[in-house]
């Protein structure tokens, strides 16, 4: 075969033009020059590789570097609206949940009421028993769940019924005279308040 004939040429004629000048410098063998260059290329290649991997890593680690999901605080109303509060009032809040490149806007009913110390607090209307929406019964001055009869006081503490805990308070803050609340869901059928999702 032609190729075989080519390969069977002697080493000296085949590789004579190796270009590294190995033959003019008898002190340093071709092999050691080639392996030194190889090491140099390996180090250089690794450095360039690391440099090029940097944007890839930053891109993939974006969820660690920035917030990609966020539950924005929703406004319940101005503080002055609730200054002369006697009974719990129901308010529908708009919840904006940022989820990567999308956002979900939903509405939820919450109650603005006063806790035992007389401070404003916000209760979720979701029954901690099985998740029904709990209405306020003005005549009886209590929260009464229509599904399974759980009853709660005006500040949300459990009075009677199948629920294992009182109604859940939501995290609130005040900004520019606005009462803000972060809506969350809590695990049902347990005696302590556990955040889910």
């Amino acid at each position: 075969m032609v190729e075989d004939a080519r390969w069977s040429k002697s080493e000296d004629t085949r590789w004579s033009k190796s270009g590294t000048g190995a033959h003019s410098d008898p002190g340093l063998s071709l092999e050691s020059r080639r392996s030194f260059l190889g090491a140099l290329l390996a180090v250089g290649g690794t450095l360039v590789g690391i440099l090029m991997a940097a944007p890839l890593i930053r891109f993939a680690l974006f969820p660690l570097l920035r917030r990609t999901t966020e539950l924005k605080a929703s406004s319940v109303g101005t503080l002055t609206e609730f200054s002369s509060l006697t009974d719990p009032v129901m308010r529908t809040i708009q919840i904006e949940q940022v989820d990567g490149w999308r956002k979900v806007v939903s509405e939820k009913a919450v109650y603005v009421t006063k806790d035992r110390q007389g401070n404003l607090c916000v209760l979720t209307s979701v029954c901690p028993h099985l998740g029904c929406t709990v209405p306020w019964n003005k005549e009886k001055s209590e929260f009464a769940c229509p599904c399974h009869g759980a009853k709660y006081a005006a500040d949300g503490t459990r009075v009677s019924g199948p629920s294992l805990r009182g109604m859940d308070t939501l995290e609130t803050s005040v900004q520019d005279g606005q009462l803000l609340v972060r809506f969350q869901y809590f695990r049902q059928l347990v005696s302590d308040k556990q955040i889910i999702g």
Binding site: L56, K103, L130, T133
Partner: protein
């Protein structure tokens, strides 16, 4: 035959190795593989003319890596494609840079591919038992152009949408089956979300798989035939002294790689890649323009309309493609020096000048038609405006449905307050999406008339009772409102 194991006498003896390297070598034959790759003989010695092939390989690997990373955030659907690309470009750290590398990488691919092809043609390197090597190269060329075409649509902005609309329309000029091919490509008569799915699958799975296979066969066939060497080398029986691929040719190849890294990096940094406003199929004024490398074809197609369209769209391109494919079978001579091959060189220059001429003509026409120039300027301005806006997350469809109902129909809006006040949403979910406790109510209109619903509300079936659904006792007006709301859930 360079892939076959060689005799001991063929290779210079290696110094004995110890430890992990030797262990690895015994199990994998890594050293032999490496020697085989690096000792590839290049007749006549290393040259800068031979660097383009490995440059292409580098860009291809870069495209694969950046493409895989882009897929971390991209969603191929008409609803979300544009939002997700905007998210990548505007929000994700290093997103604009990576997308830039991918987009400019495609252009670089076309440029280096052209240089590689030119070198092969001018050097007559397709001669001497290299027919399959040439054919696999031609197939790779086609695949790269197909990658550019399918990738262009994926951002789903105005430019992408209309360029692809024009591209797929051109296909329908093919007689008899053109319309069917167009429909198959689009996944329907019009461009839409099925088009994105099809282009995405082609761009991400099918064509890359073909490219991997073709690159492997291209390299295998290249090693089988051996490097062709300089123009005065015999294509069948190389006679000039050979120099191994490593180190000088490797260094020359790496210089192009370094240039590509530097060039693409600087380009992405200083000229960030654009994303225009989302595709609006109703925009009747938009003037589509393809990527620069498709401009010659775009201009060419403008000349062929009506009954002669088939000549320009099918006959001439088919003849050109066939001529290119058949080149190593037709041109059997051993002469490789370009100055001794006036016919081949003439044809090459004719094709290159035609392509450049058509591209320039297209640009010239765009600049000198005031209406077109004005509209193109407006489109660029819109792109710039959109690019400077901060990223705005997409409102999920569930949110929209809930919001729209409240706005559209006052009766349904009243029904919504009843639905929530009576805790219907406790079991049926907000907006009737359904929960574990009760079925979804969305789309219930198709199953029950308002009268049937009223009856079910007043007298739930045994199954409903068992599920915990109580009879609803409401004043007639409220019941009507509640039914209006439930029926409005889509």
């Amino acid at each position: 035959m360079s892939w076959a194991p060689k005799n001991e006498s063929d290779t210079p003896p290696l110094p004995p190795k110890k430890g992990i390297r030797e262990w690895l070598n015994r199990r994998t034959g890594l050293d032999d593989l490496l020697r085989n790759a690096l000792d590839e003989p290049i007749p006549g010695g290393a040259r800068f003319a031979y660097i383009f092939g490995s440059g292409l390989l580098f860009i291809f690997i870069s495209q694969v890596i950046t493409g895989v990373f882009l897929a971390l955030y991209y969603v191929p659907s008409a609803d979300h494609a544009h939002t997700t690309v905007a998210y990548i470009t505007k929000a994700v750290t290093a997103g604009a840079f990576l997308r830039g590398l991918h987009v400019y990488g495609a252009s670089a691919m076309v440029v280096v591919l052209f240089l590689h092809l030119s070198q092969t043609f001018i050097y007559g390197s397709y001669k001497g038992r290299r027919e399959l090597l040439w054919l696999s190269g031609c197939a790779l060329f086609g695949m790269v152009l197909a990658m550019a075409f399918t990738g262009c649509l994926l951002p789903w902005d105005q430019r992408a949408y209309f360029a692809t609309a024009v591209g797929t329309n051109a296909v329908s000029e093919v007689p008899w089956i053109g319309e069917s091919i167009k429909r198959l490509m689009r996944g329907g008569t019009d461009m839409g979300t099925l088009t994105i799915s099809r282009f995405f699958v082609a761009h991400v799975f099918l064509i890359p798989a073909c490219i991997f296979a073709l690159v492997a066969s291209h390299i295998f066939l290249f090693r089988k035939a051996g490097a062709a060497g300089p123009v005065h080398e015999d294509p069948y029986h190389p006679k000039q002294e050979a120099e191994p691929f490593y180190p000088r040719q490797v260094l020359m190849d790496l210089s192009l790689t370094a240039l590509l890294i530097l060039g693409l990096g600087l380009l992405c940094f200083f000229v960030p890649v654009q994303l225009g406003p989302a595709a609006n199929p109703a925009d009747a004024q938009y003037i589509p323009r393809p990527e620069w490398y498709y401009l010659p074809v775009f201009q060419w197609l403008k000349y062929w309309h009506g009954s002669v369209a088939i000549v320009g769209v099918l006959v001439i391109p088919t003849l050109i493609v066939l001529a290119i494919l058949a080149l190593p079978f037709l041109d059997r001579g051993v002469e490789r020096r370009p100055w001794k091959r006036p016919g081949a060189m003439g044809a090459y220059l004719f094709v290159v000048f035609s392509l450049v001429g058509l591209g320039l003509r297209s640009q010239y026409l765009d600049r000198h038609d005031p209406g077109v120039a004005q509209q193109l300027a407006k489109q660029r301005a819109e792109e710039n405006d959109y690019a400077s806006e901060p990223f705005e997350p997409e409102l999920s469809s569930a949110s929209l449905a809930a919001a729209n109902v409240a706005l559209a129909d006052p009766l349904a809006a009243k029904g919504k307050t009843i639905f929530e006040g009576r805790s219907c949403n406790a079991c049926h979910g907000d907006g009737g999406v359904g929960t574990a406790a009760a079925p979804r109510l969305i789309g219930i209109k198709a199953k029950f008339s308002p009268d049937q619903l009223a009856e079910l509300f007043k007298h739930p079936t045994a199954k409903m009772n068992a599920g915990g659904m109580p009879p609803i006792d409401l004043p007639p007006d409220d019941l009507k409102a509640l039914i209006a709301y439930v029926e409005s859930l889509q």
